[in-house]
Every structure is written in structure tokens, then in C-alpha cells.
């Protein structure tokens, strides 16, 4: 079913598929996106992260030509947007701020109409090829056997799958998906994740915009982190998730372990002792040989969540009482007890 996609016909082999320079969007007095220089390498699975209201969706809308930039430039698949929209967009599959469909039509008809809408000649041209495209897309998202009921009667998960199918219709070399697993159950999330990975293996560049860190962590090879309209971090996941140089030791006797290890102990909490050490195997042998039982040992890595919380403020959907004349507490309450922070 997943025939390998043809990579490269979009110049995907060389250079970034998305490149923005100083991309800025103001809505009245609000700066939604502020001078963003973003590059998405071809063939990557790129996660665009950020708190609610950090400008992710406006970024995506500008890349797709839905919203006109106030200043700055954007290139998608090597061509300027929105000027080259007519030649760029047929090669981009998109899911923007949730799926949408004509509610009175069944899913199949929806895809057929949508497919025909973007084709010169419309519904009458090559209906057979259209039917095949639609069936293939439905199969990819697990809706191949869907019945004739109108989309109005679909569940949230079915709508989401239909939205992804619509994005996949033309086998685009670039997918831009906003919260693609929204409304899906864990099994559905796994299916879509595997689908995206297999498409990516076939050469499709996948850009994922999400505030679900676990989603991005599980799927992406590179992330861009947005905060208050600015791109504050772009990094490969491998680098972010590299070991921190510390080892977490689980032991029933933390006192003995701490005494034995002395100066390299950096943190203690309950039955765990966090130690600065380069060689976890040696550390284990050392502890055991001195009679300290070790029930578990792990190399500490930063989670994406820690990185994100460290580098971004609270979301724009949070409004704290005015302090020092500012209505929104930005950076100062990042560590406050009321923020949605989970310390691992």
C-alpha cells in the first residue's frame, strides 16, 4: 500500500525545503511572528514546537500563503511564497488547525471534490485516476472501509484521519501537519506515527506543528522552538537528547551510596542518587564491590519537556494579574508552582 514516494522532484535532495528570513506578521498591535529565520532540511521530520499562541499556526499559514507576511520572505520547496503558490502548493499536503470537510458529504465525496477543486478541468477529468488517489489516501489513514454516512456524523478521530487523507492526496513531497494526532486514541496515534515515519522514509519531508511534546519527541528528528513569536531554538533531537554526563542510581541504601561516592553526588531524592560520572558500568561495579545494592542505573538525558520549559515562557493563553504595569507575566513565573511543570 505505501508505494515509495518519489523523492527529489521538488529539489528535495539539496537545500532546505522551507527557508524563511526575517518572517514577521503583525495583527494590529500584536506581533504574532517576529523575525523568524527558519530552515527545514529536506527529508527531515521537523517539529515546530511552542506554547499556545507562540506563533506556530501563523507561521504555518504564512508558509501556505493563507496569511500575508508583514515583512520578511518565505521560500517553500525552493520557490517564494505566496508568489509561487500555484506551483508550490500542489506539492504540499497540509493540515491546518484541525481537519475540515463539507459536513453534508461522505468522506469519499469530500476527498473527490477537494481533489477535483485543485485540478484544471474539475470533476470530469480522469475520474478513474481520482478514485484511485482517493482510495489510496483513505487506505493509508485506515478509512478504506468507511461507509456512506456524511462527515457530519463522523467522530473526532475519523475527521482527523480524513483530514490527513486529504493532505496525502497528491503524494506531496512536503507535509505540513498541525496537531495531526489530535482526537485519536493511542492506537490511532501509533498508526499515524508509523504512517508518517514510513512516508518520511520514502523521501517525504514532514513538518509537524504541535504543543504535544511527547508527540514531537516520538516522531521528530529536528525541532524548532517558538516562544512569543520568535524562534528561540533549532536543534537536532540527537543533540538535545544527548547524555548530560550524569548517572541516576537507584539504591535501597542512598546514604551509603552518597558516603561512598562523596563529591560527585549532585542530587539526592528518596532512593535515588544523581552522580556526575562518565562510566556508568564502572560506577555500578564500584558500588556493588563496596556492598551497596543497586536496583537501577540510568544515564540521565534531558527530556524535550525540560528543554522546552527552560527555553520558553508560559503560553499566550495564560493571563496573570498585572505586575509592574505588565499584564502578562512572561518569564518570571516560569518556575512558579502554578505553571504546568512536571519535574522529572
Amino acid at each position: 500500500m505505501n508505494a515509495p514516494r518519489v523523492p527529489g522532484d521538488a529539489g528535495a535532495d539539496d537545500g532546505p525545503v522551507i527557508r524563511t528570513e526575517g518572517l514577521t506578521k503583525r495583527f494590529g498591535r500584536i506581533v504574532a511572528v517576529d523575525g523568524v529565520d527558519l530552515q527545514v532540511p529536506a527529508g527531515s521530520r521537523f517539529g515546530l514546537l511552542g506554547p499556545n499562541g507562540s506563533g506556530k499556526t501563523t507561521m504555518v499559514r504564512m508558509l501556505l500563503g493563507l496569511v500575508h507576511a508583514t515583512s520578511g520572505t518565505a521560500q517553500v520547496l525552493g520557490e517564494p511564497m505566496p508568489r509561487a503558490a500555484a506551483s508550490v502548493l500542489p506539492r504540499v499536503g497540509a493540515l491546518v488547525e484541525g481537519p475540515a470537510a463539507w459536513p453534508g458529504l461522505p468522506g469519499r465525496s469530500n476527498l473527490r471534490m477537494l481533489d477535483a477543486a485543485g485540478t484544471r478541468g474539475g470533476l470530469l477529468v480522469r475520474p478513474g485516476a481520482r478514485r484511485r488517489r482517493v482510495e489510496e489516501a483513505l487506505e493509508q489513514v485506515g478509512l478504506a472501509g468507511v461507509d456512506r454516512r456524511p462527515v457530519r456524523a463522523y467522530s473526532l478521530g475519523m475527521r482527523q484521519r480524513l483530514g490527513i487523507a486529504a493532505a496525502l492526496l497528491r503524494r506531496p513531497p512536503l507535509l505540513i501537519l498541525d496537531e495531526p494526532t489530535n482526537g485519536l486514541d493511542p492506537r490511532g496515534i501509533g498508526e499515524i506515527r508509523r504512517l508518517l515515519v514510513s512516508l518520511n522514509a520514502g523521501g517525504t519531508t514532514v513538518v509537524l506543528s504541535s504543543h504535544l511534546l511527547s508527540e514531537v519527541e516520538a516522531l521528530c528528528t529536528r525541532i524548532g522552538l517558538m516562544d512569543a513569536g520568535r524562534l528561540v531554538l533549532t536543534e537536532d533531537m540527537d543533540v538535545l537528547r544527548a547524555p548530560t554526563g550524569r548517572v541516576i542510581v537507584h539504591t535501597p541504601d542512598p546514604d551509603a551510596a552518597a558516603r561512598l561516592l562523596g563529591g560527585v553526588v549532585e542530587e539526592r531524592a528518596g532512593t535515588t542518587v544523581t552522580v556526575r560520572a562518565d562510566d556508568p558500568a564502572g560506577l555500578n561495579a564500584h558500588l556493588v564491590s563496596r556492598g551497596v545494592a543497586v536496583t537501577g542505573l540510568e544515564v540521565e538525558r534531558r527530556t524535550l519537556e525540560q528543554v522546552v520549559l527552560q527555553r520558553s515562557g508560559s503560553g499566550a493563553d495564560r493571563f496573570d494579574p498585572a505586575r509592574n504595569g505588565r499584564s502578562r507575566a512572561a518569564d518570571d513565573d516560569r518556575s512558579g508552582p502554578s505553571t504546568e511543570r512536571i519535574v522529572r
Binding site: R61, L64, H68, A100, A101, M113, G122
Partner: protein, 282 residues
């Protein structure tokens, strides 16, 4: 995109409801008039209605005169107001634009589909009321109330000026009427499309169109508005009645058609100017 728009329109239940209701109102009037035999006297009530009891074939004209002032504009407002705002409110606007469908192409397809809706509406009303008229009133000369006993037989209809209109002639006049009224309603359609680009609410756009109709209709009899009277969108709606005179008086219809075309161009241009520069955030 035009084919898709037409297909989508034809699959909308609301559209068929509009058509059904448009055809039902004249049928209701026909049943009442024929059951009671109480046609309004000439010069009162809707145009042509006084004549229908003598010949059912004139009933399409009476039916059009019945639905024209309020009913037809409402359906056009509903359908045209839904064009862009409806897509925006379901979220399909963004998916159509990234498919991609060019913004001008989309608007043009919307205009074509509204035109198709309007023409079909007028045509359906004409055809159904022809059938209903004959069923209720016969071909003329068979009723006892009328004085024009000379007018009998299939297709022969008295014109407003007296002489009889022959079948082929009646057909051309009816087609001209359908086209002219279609054009008048397309003016509202184009205005509706423009309003529809201004808002994400189909209801607001439809009410905007009705506001235009009401404003225009209230200014029309006002002497103080005499300078602009000719250019009001509703000013020439009744000019088609001249098509049933003998010989046909084209002056009012011509001028009316020009004014309607002007409105369509202006409204469609405004819709395009607005949508082309708009940030689509729906």
C-alpha cells in the same frame, strides 16, 4: 472548480428546500384562487393575478410577480451569503486555498454557481407554475368568470395590451423574463458574495443582502432620492412586465439590465479586492 461548485450546490439540501418553497408559494395561491374563484380585481394584488382565472397559462407571470419582491431575494441572500462565509465557517476555505484554488478562480466559480441557482430558481417557478396554472385554471375560455372569450386554446394568452400572444412568442417572452429576473437576482448574488468575503458568518452576509434590498426598496418611492433612483438595485425589478405587452417595450428592460450588470461588476470586483488581500485565519 466551477464543476465542483455546481456539484456541491446541487448536493446541498438547503438549495433544494429553497427551490421547493419558491415553487410552493405560487401553487398555494393557485389553489386558493381556483378553489374560491376570488381573483383580485385588475390593478390590485400581484400583477397578472387578476387575469389567471381566464387563462392558466398566464399564471407563470403571476407566480414570478408573487415571489419576486420578498421570497426570491431571501433565497438568493441565503445561498449567496453562504458562498465564502460558509466555507470559512466549516474551515474548508483554507483547505480549498491550499489545494490550491486561486482566490479569483474560487470567487468566479461561486458567482457561476449562484447564477445557476438563480436561473434554476426562476426556471423552476416558471415551469411548475405553468403546470399548476393549467391544472387549476385550464387553457382559458373554459372559465365562466372572464370576459375574454375569444382567447382560447393551447398557448394563446392575452397580452397586457390586449392582443393575443401566440405560443412561440409566449415561450420567447418567458425565456426573456427568466433571463432578466435571473440577472436582477444575480445582482443580489454578487452583493451577497461580497458580503460573504467580509465575514465568517453566512447569516450575517445573508442579512446584509436583505438590508440592501430593504434600503433600496425604501429609497425607491422617495422623491428626495430621485437622483439615485435609477441606480438602485431594486429599481428595475418590475421592468420585465413590459415583456408581456404588445409590442414589447424594451427600454426599461434594457436600462434595467445595464444597471444590474453594473452592480454585478462592482460587487464582484469588491469581493475580489477584499478576498485577494485578506488574511485567511478561519
Amino acid at each position: 472548480m466551477i464543476g465542483v461548485e455546481l456539484a456541491l450546490m446541487l448536493r446541498r439540501r438547503r438549495v433544494w428546500m429553497c427551490w421547493a418553497l419558491l415553487c410552493a408559494l405560487p401553487a398555494l395561491v393557485a389553489v386558493l384562487v381556483s378553489a374560491t374563484g376570488l381573483a383580485p380585481p385588475p390593478g390590485r394584488g400581484a400583477a397578472f393575478l387578476s387575469a389567471v382565472t381566464t387563462n392558466g397559462q398566464i399564471f407563470p407571470a403571476a407566480a414570478l410577480a408573487l415571489v419576486l419582491p420578498v421570497f426570491l431575494p431571501i433565497t438568493v441572500a441565503v445561498v449567496a451569503g453562504d458562498t465564502v462565509a460558509g466555507e470559512a465557517s466549516t474551515g474548508m476555505l483554507r483547505y480549498l486555498l491550499v489545494r490550491p484554488v486561486g482566490r479569483l478562480r474560487m470567487l468566479f466559480a461561486k458567482l457561476v454557481s449562484v447564477a445557476a441557482f438563480v436561473l434554476l430558481a426562476v426556471a423552476f417557478v416558471t415551469v411548475t407554475s405553468y403546470v399548476v396554472g393549467i391544472a387549476a385554471f385550464g387553457f382559458g375560455g373554459t372559465t365562466t368568470s372572464g370576459g375574454t372569450a375569444a382567447v382560447t386554446g393551447f398557448g394563446a394568452v392575452p397580452s397586457l395590451s390586449g392582443p393575443v400572444i401566440e405560443p412561440v412568442d409566449l415561450l420567447t417572452r418567458t425565456l426573456l423574463t427568466v433571463g432578466y429576473l435571473g440577472l436582477c437576482m444575480l445582482t443580489l448574488g454578487a452583493i451577497g458574495i461580497f458580503f460573504s468575503t467580509l465575514t465568517d458568518s453566512p447569516l450575517a452576509a445573508a442579512l446584509g443582502v436583505l438590508a440592501v434590498v430593504v434600503t433600496s426598496a425604501s429609497l425607491q418611492p422617495l422623491e428626495a432620492a430621485g437622483a439615485v433612483e435609477q441606480f438602485l438595485p431594486t429599481a428595475h425589478w418590475l421592468a420585465w412586465i413590459d415583456l408581456f405587452r404588445d409590442p414589447i417595450l424594451y427600454t426599461a428592460v434594457d436600462r434595467g439590465a445595464l444597471v444590474q450588470l453594473g452592480w454585478i461588476l462592482v460587487a464582484f470586483g469588491a469581493a475580489w479586492a477584499n478576498l485577494a488581500t485578506k488574511d485567511v485565519t478561519s
